[in-house]
């Protein structure tokens, strides 16, 4: 367990953090030219991190180390962070003022490192710190992203509420430590949470309180009801490209942590000892979808609309978490793989939509409302097309990747064959229909309505590039989703084997559903 093993396993994360320090240091240079080129340096750091991630030993070779455990899940999350993160970086290229570039992009690197560490962590304390490493820089970035007073206001709100959520989560972790006597998530020779929850008399009230509190803290990160209230204000206050960042990075971290936590406590089921937790998640998922969509329906401001829709998308993904990872062969039955697929797709399509917004300005102000988008197809046909593609994808309409993502999420719930999950999937499908109403409003504003305001393009080359990549990716992932699905599927292998309750559930599932044979994944055949 020497330092060099750590370094080699975590080299991409180390690179991101060291890069952050470098960017901070160079970012205060006296030369304005150097200060203004920090975005380029940041991109170079991300590229190096990608190279290191590519060179990294594969998870099979890596043993469980104190505090971390490298799995296929962490590899998937790491790559998702780096690739989508690079796109986010390109979209944010011009967001901060020149003299603040160093701080802004350094914070961005820290946040990305945090997501990656979340996926590697195998200890409640490491997990907590990793999650805060994701969140704390985002508070700063919100404040730096605009000079507008609303940005400062939302940064303060975000900070205080984020701190509250962190406190709740830490409190929950302390309960978990209290009941189990260990902070280790799973694996290793000693006591761990997974071993504790695999035992029989483990689901006492204190364990439940710990899980509920921990879950609540994570629900804040993914903006799930009833911890969603901050999202609309913060998203509206931040600059549009940063909003895309906030919609993906903390969400990815939150869902990754949630998957790990659920794996440790053995995927709660509708009956048995873990039923109360399952039903709580069920209620939260249904509530999140509905609240997000209904509130989005009432908005006229596109940023607020997309903020609420972001809440709704978290609700859809919670369905996948509830389905769990092991309902049989093929991705149609793997809820967690569906979540991982969906979150990447969501990150890209959400970024596309926000990049269009940030590409436009109305009399010097960033575009925000539906009126600002009206008649966009006549001014900037390609931007309008990208907006339409992303809106259709968010809606879950073929031929875009959003459709495939939703099919996988909901069909997993149908395939599970449990009434409660089927009802939840039906709620999800109905909510998608509600969602169509406001996404279509965005698309029709771009194409059908006459221009209201004088639009001018503000974005640079990088933003046009991001737009093109995002809308193309939506088509490509529709035409050929299987590569990403396969990655997501292999990422869930580590959480499939964790915990004892899961095995009990598989046995139970065998009554109604085909038994599971993990090795005969059909997608490897082609």
């Amino acid at each position: 367990m020497n330092t060099s093993t750590y370094l080699s396993l975590l080299s991409p994360e180390c690179c991101l953090l060291a890069g952050a320090c470098l960017v901070w240091l160079v970012g205060v240079s006296r030369s304005a030219g150097i200060r203004a080129s920090m975005a380029g340096l940041t991109l170079a750091v991300v590229a190096v991190a990608m190279f290191l991630a590519w060179r990294c030993p594969s998870p099979e070779a890596a043993a469980v180390m104190p505090g971390i455990r490298m799995t296929s899940l962490s590899e998937f999350v790491r790559w998702a962070t780096l690739i989508v993160g690079a796109l986010l970086l390109l979209a944010n290229w011009r967001v901060p003022a020149d003299r603040e570039q160093g701080e802004y992009f350094g914070m961005m690197l820290c946040s990305m490192a945090g997501v990656s560490l979340t996926a590697c962590s195998n200890d409640l304390i490491v997990l907590f710190f990793a999650l805060e490493l994701v969140s704390v820089p985002t508070y700063v970035m919100v404040a730096l992203s605009r000079t507008h007073v609303r940005a400062s206001e939302s940064a303060v709100k975000y900070f205080f509420l984020g701190a509250l959520a962190a406190a709740i989560m830490a409190y929950g972790f302390s309960f978990l430590y209290g009941v189990s006597g260990s902070t280790v998530l799973e694996g290793g020779a000693g006591q761990s949470l997974a071993k504790y929850f695999a035992g029989d008399a483990s689901w006492g009230p204190f364990a439940l309180i710990g899980l509920v509190l921990a879950f609540s803290g994570l629900a804040f990160k993914v903006a799930a009801a009833p911890f969603h209230a901050y999202a609309a204000d913060v998203y509206e206050g931040a600059a549009s490209p940063l909003t895309a960042f906030l919609g993906f990075i903390p969400k990815l971290a939150g869902f990754t942590a949630l998957i790990k936590l659920m794996a440790v406590c053995g995927w709660p089921a509708a009956d048995g000892v873990s039923a109360p937790l399952m039903w709580m998640l069920w209620v939260v998922a249904a509530l999140t979808m509905t609240v997000g969509n209904v509130l989005a329906l009432l908005q006229h401001n596109v940023k607020r609309m997309l903020a609420y829709s972001s809440i709704a998308h978290s609700g859809y993904m919670l369905v996948g978490i509830l389905v769990g990872p092991m309902w049989g062969t093929g991705p149609m039955r793997d809820g967690v793989a569906a979540v991982l697929f969906y979150i990447v797709v969501y990150g890209v399509m959400n970024l596309g939509a926000f990049a269009v917004l940030s590409n436009l300005s109305i009399k010097g102000e960033p575009a925000e409302t539906l009126d600002d988008l009206a008649g966009l197809s006549r001014r900037a046909p390609l931007s309008a097309f990208a907006m339409a593609v992303c809106a259709f994808s968010l809606m879950g309409f073929p031929p875009t990747a959003g459709f495939i993502g939703k099919v996988y999420l909901f069909s997993g719930a149908f395939a599970a064959g449990e009434t409660s999950l089927i009802v939840l999937a039906v709620i999800g499908v109905l909510n998608s229909a509600i969602g169509a109403a406001y996404y279509l409003k965005i698309a029709s504003a771009c194409y059908v309505r006459e221009p209201v305001a004088e639009q001018s393009r503000t974005g640079g080359l990088t933003q046009s590039f991001v737009l093109a990549v995002c809308s193309l990716a939506m088509f490509c992932l529709f035409l050929r989703p299987n590569d990403l699905v396969r990655q997501a599927r292999s990422a869930t292998e580590s959480v499939r084997t964790a915990g004892q309750a899961s095995i009990a559930r598989v046995d139970r599932g065998a009554v109604g559903i085909q038994p599971i044979a993990p090795s005969d994944d059909q997608e490897h055949a082609g």
């Binding site: 206001e153 303060v156 709100k157 205080f160 509420l161 509250l164 959520a165 709740i168 689901w203 009230p205 439940l208 309180i209 509920v212 509190l213 609540s216 804040f220 009801a225 009833p226 911890f227 209230a229 901050y230 204000d233 039923a275 109360p276 937790l277 039903w279 709580m280 209620v283 939260v284 609240v291 209904v294 509130l295 329906l297 009432l298 062969t329 093929g330 991705p331 149609m332 495939i404 099919v407 069909s411 395939a415 035409l479 050929r480 989703p481 299987n482 699905v485 085909q514 059909q522 997608e523 055949a525 082609g526």
Partner: protein, 661 residues
């Protein structure tokens, strides 16, 4: 067959036109402008090359007894129970014939469009859009033909429909064109709805959408749950037929095709004559195992085909718009193909599809050339005697007209004769319909031809008539060679038959034979039941009828034009009825469109007053909650924190209550 070679060439055929379309669409407006035809010409040219290559591979494979190969390009989408929807191509003789026809005619039409879409040497508005759409169409059509399962077939089917819509409405600022595009799309929706249901029923019945699996099960007469019932297979066949009727403009869904002539002439030639409208025929041949299992469905196919052929030909007798005459003629010829399918002569139907593509594309392009020269006017009452003004158009069109009229030894004669023959073998009534149509075809074709090209030279006022340039003429030449000689691949040179030299069913049919086994198993052998005399007698009869039709047209429109006037006076009611296309459009308007519109208005009123009110009520609840919360929460940090804590308390209470109880 070497499946990796098949995969390579199939991918080329698919992707090259798409790449051309994208290049024209993306680079067209800014960079290429008047040169936007080049990427599409290159892309489709590559596809033609690929089609020939595949043809060679299939011929080679046929010698070795492997006539068909399915290549899975990749797994697309998972279904339940570990099943997958694949992106796969099926290459067999039928596929390569369709590919050759589609890519070949497309290439010629695209070359032709280079000049046609110009006015005084200047590219018309939307030039690059036009070529991008054409490229997209070629991609969609080859995808339809190559697709190895019903899902891909359906996707291609819808995509060609979309391209057709876009191209009919190409002149979108012209109200008639926009209306025609809408009509084509909506009428096709009716057919496609049935087609979609048919595919769903196939999935429910056979548990798969793969051609191989489905057709194998259909031939063995089994379904997922036990035996395949006659009712089920008939239902599937009729639903599929519904789609074919819409796409191939057969009765009663034929109304969209004549209106589709509002699109540019090359589009009429390519999409609404040679390729897309034949998709219905292709689909029925492809699904032969399903159709052959249901004699009832086959009878309906034959009846629809025979009646459509006669019905459309009779309308074409009196029309004045050159392109509409050709459109009705297309409907009528497609009717022949359906008739051929219905009487189990699928080989002859595909043969007719193939020859028809040549001469009908030729006729449309020649008509386009006339239209181009006449400054956009296509009414045969407004011009005449053009043979001196447009000498090359005149010559090529003459060959096209002869082929369409079924003049002996030209391509159209062979294929049409085979269908008439097969129809007679099966049923005297159907054969009679086909023969009557043949004589009408000869008449209306040459009525149009003589009125346009003979008599004194008349051109519309203010039009400087001129022969088209080489970009337009070369495709005409190539197609007229095809119109004359293409039929010979389908006849055998030997003893007996026409002129004692030619007998039907040649290399074309032998090549196609392995695909048509379901038809030949279930159907009748055309040659077995007719005597020698009848067989060749019919051939001479149809040749004589064709010449007779041409002669009548000559008498009425060149020799003594007064006779035509007198005829019109003598049968005013008939003339009126035909001129108004049997009032089908009016009937649809009165009995379908208007009631539906009233229903729509009724629904809109309900929506506006009832549903909107309900929605308002529903949204009022969150609004109310919002307003209640607003006092604590609006923008207030403490309010948000409080709501979080309340939420947390509720969740904890919920969970702990669950534990206790």
């Amino acid at each position: 067959m070497d499946s990796s070679a098949v995969q390579t060439w199939a991918l080329l055929i698919l992707l090259a036109p798409l790449a051309g379309a994208i290049a024209a669409g993306v680079l067209g407006p800014g960079v290429l402008k008047g040169r936007s035809h080049w990427p599409v010409i290159l892309g489709v040219g590559a596809a033609v090359l690929g089609a020939f290559k595949l043809f060679g591979l299939v011929r080679h494979g046929a010698h070795e007894g492997a006539h068909s190969v399915t290549v899975v390009l990749y797994q697309w989408f998972a279904a339940y129970e570990g099943k997958w929807f694949n992106v796969e191509v099926l290459v067999d003789p039928l596929t390569v014939i369709m590919l050759l026809v589609v890519t070949g005619v497309s290439l010629l039409v695209i070359i032709y469009s280079r000049d046609y879409m110009r006015e005084d040497g200047q590219a018309v508005k939307g030039y690059e859009r036009f070529f991008a759409y054409l490229g997209l169409f070629v991609f969609s059509m080859v995808a339809l033909v190559l697709g190895g399962n019903f899902l891909l077939l359906y996707l291609g089917w819808e995509a060609v429909g979309l391209c057709s819509f876009l191209l009919i409405g190409f002149y979108y600022d012209k109200p008639a064109a926009a209306a025609a595009a809408k009509k084509a799309f909506l009428v096709n929706r009716i057919g496609d709805f049935g087609f979609g249901l048919g595919i769903l029923l196939i999935y429910l019945t056979f548990g798969s959408l793969d051609f191989a699996t489905v057709f194998d099960m259909a031939e063995r007469g089994v379904a997922v749950s036990g035996d395949l019932s006659y009712g089920r297979v008939t239902a599937i066949a009729l639903l599929l037929l519904c789609g074919a009727v819409g796409k191939s403009a057969q009765l009663p869904l034929h109304v969209w095709l004549p209106d589709a002539m509002e699109g540019p002439s090359p589009v009429s030639a390519l999409i609404h004559a040679a390729t897309m409208v034949t998709a219905g025929v292709y689909m029925i041949v492809r699904c032969g195992s399903i159709f052959a299992a249901s004699p009832l469905a086959m009878t309906i196919v034959a009846l629809i085909g025979g009646l459509t052929a006669l019905f459309a030909a009779s309308i074409a007798l009196v029309q004045y718009d050159m392109k509409r005459i050709l459109a009705y003629s297309t409907i009528s010829q497609l009717g022949y193909m359906f008739l051929g399918l219905g009487v189990s002569a699928a080989g002859s139907a595909v043969f007719h599809l193939y020859t028809h593509a040549f001469f009908k594309a030729l006729l449309f392009l020649a008509a386009g050339s006339v239209m181009h020269a006449m400054g956009g006017i296509i009414d045969i009452r407004k011009f005449g005697g053009l043979r001196r003004v447009l000498p090359w158009t005149y010559r090529t069109m003459f060959l096209g007209c002869l082929a369409l009229a079924g003049f002996p030894l030209l391509s159209g004669f062979w294929s049409k004769d085979e269908i008439i023959h097969a129809a007679f073998t099966q049923d005297k009534f159907l054969g009679g319909l086909a023969l009557l149509t043949a004589v009408m075809t000869a008449f209306y074709t040459f009525r149009m031809f003589f009125r346009a090209f003979f008599g004194t030279t008349r051109v519309p006022e203010g039009v400087h008539a001129h022969e088209s340039g080489l970009w337009m003429l070369v495709p005409l030449f190539v197609l007229s060679i095809g119109a004359v000689f293409a039929g010979f691949v389908g006849v055998e040179v030997g003893h007996g038959g026409m002129l004692g030299l030619f007998r039907p069913h040649g290399a074309f049919h032998h090549f196609l034979e392995p695909v048509l086994t379901p038809f030949t198993h279930g159907g009748h052998e055309a040659h077995a039941t007719l005597g020698h005399f009848q067989e060749f007698g019919l051939m001479y009869a149809s040749a004589a009828l064709s010449v007779f039709g041409i002669a009548v047209a000559y008498t009425l429109y060149v020799d003594s034009p007064m006779l035509a006037m007198i005829m019109r006076r003598v049968f005013p009611a008939t003339h009126e009825l035909l001129l108004n296309k049997y009032h089908v459009d009016e009937g649809y308007d009165r009995f379908i469109v208007r009631p539906l519109r009233s229903l729509g208005r009724f629904c809109a009123a309900i929506d506006e007053h009832l549903i909107d009110g309900l929605v308002w009520l529903v949204t009022a609840v969150p609004r109310l909650i919002g307003m209640l919360l607003r006092s604590i929460q609006q923008g207030s940090l403490q309010g948000y924190a409080a709501s979080m804590m309340v939420g947390l308390a509720v969740l904890l209470a919920f969970v702990l209550w669950g534990v206790i109880s």
